[in-house]
Amino acid sequence: MKALVIDDERLARNELRRLLKAFPDIEIAGEAANAKEAREKLDALKPDLLFLDVQMPGETGMELLESLEAPVPHVIFTTAYDEFAVKAFELNALDYLLKPVDPARLAAAVEKLRGKVNGTADTSPAKSVPRDRLAAEDKVFVREGDRCWFVEVKAIRLLESEGNYTRVHFDNAQPQLFRSLNAMEERLDPKYFFRANRRQIINLAWIDKLEPWFSGGLLVHLKGGAKVELSRRQAQDFRDKMSL
């Protein structure tokens, strides 16, 4: 596994490097001291894993993640003492390490990661979709205020346009993503996602039932309670797509 260590302190990067010597399957491909460097290294090295410091000069780790094009690599956050971040991590079961890093804690995080990587390896056919489209298991990083999530694309039920932003509905949350709905549509796999109208994209896997609607339209009930209207033209597209 190729890893990139992102931390503004040279000594902190060294320390992590030293600790990671205990894990031969993790190869540290590079280091970055800030978000700008990190972006260059990400493009050049295409790492599978990021060790990412939350507090950095210029952009924070969160801001860096937000700016990355999905899919994002696996991320293990590192932070010294950041109550807000730690709360956000715990809430969403993101992996994080507190500095100075406890070797046992690091081992547990790496173990958890191995499990996840092996899990996705089984579903390798999904990777056959063109890389400019997101696979069902790919993850999108979403942040709103103090909370943040890595959302699997298949968990997204509904995307709604709000100007330049897109509201993403999954689980019990609906945070905003700093991307337009059109930009999102280009990245989503049309096999699973359908543009219901100008404002909404639905995940076909989450459809609960359909109901005939006014003047030949359709009302789509999604699992989780949301209802989306399709005009006659869209309903026709939808029927064509579903009958294929």
Binding site: D8, E9, R10, L11, A12, N14, E15, R18, N34, K36, Q55, P57, G58, A80, Y81, D82, F84, L98, K99, P100, V101
Partner: protein
Amino acid sequence: MEATAATSHSLLLEDTARRTRGKQRLYVICQLCGWLFFLGLHVTLFVMDPGKDPYMIQLRIFNTSLIAIMVLVGLLMTHYLRPLFARWGWKNLGWRALVPRIFGMTLVQSTLLVAVVFAYPFFFLQYPWPAKHSIWLSVALTWVNDIVLFGVWFCVYFFYHLFERFNRSELERAQLAASAKEAELRSLKSQVNPHFIFNSLNSLRALIDEDPARARQSVTQLANLLRYSLQSGQLETVPFEDELRVVNDYLALEQVRHEERLRVRLDISPDTLQLPIPPMLLQTLVENAVKYGISTQREGGEIAIVARQEGGALRLQVTNPGSLPEAVRRAKASASTGVGLKNASDRLRLLFGEKATLNLRSATPDSVVAEAVIPLRIA
């Protein structure tokens, strides 16, 4: 903390008990002295001029003994009125409400006293009236006399209570203000940022392999800083020199973390070293400077500390790279960060009064200066 609170509470109770005892003693003295003075006056007048006429002597003995009875009854009556006053809540009334009540009570009491002294022996028991003049003349004179007596007694009694209550409320207000100030100070006393502590420990662990000598030195510096931060809570002010030493340790630790990204320039005038400053004040300013000037700038920069004694005040300036709008924007973005400077400013004002100031402004387009002015004399 618990123990201190308990001690101060029991001290307060002891104080209250002592005050109550003192008040009781004062009451007994005033009560006895007042009535005995009145009796003594009559006796003295009689002894000094007993008169020659045996009838007159007899009359005056009779009068004096009547007065003695009156004093005894009056003393008892006023003594047993006190619990009634307490029950009716008269002790807590303002003077406007008291005046008519005192007036009415004076009339009632003097009438009652006259009734006891005259009506009981001469009308009820039918003792013969020994004097030549009418009994009604004596009754009228005694009544007027008693009105004056009771009037004076009530006035003294309630005036004392009014005055005492006024004093007590003043005292309570002062105590309240003092304790509020103390609590405020305690909460405003700042401590070393935990984020910094853990980051330092992390760098230190890396340093153990790389540069053991420097690692040992850093442990000492971190210990100094933590000890100072913990102890600063017990002191109102420290000599500037002590604070400066700890700030130097702090900056050395930050240099371990930020390496060449953090440069430091000190310009300290020697006559400032002994001046008193609130502990952690300079530390707070420097910590903020590192937070906004170094941690957020990719290339880092220089932090300059200037201390001067001028115009009867100590002037501290901490300059860091960055721009003020950026600093304000960041402070707003994370609610916790603006608090440090605000607390330092409040603490400074509580300790040194309105002349003490702390402000943040742009020094040049790309540097920010935090300036604290501390009057040499504590307000």
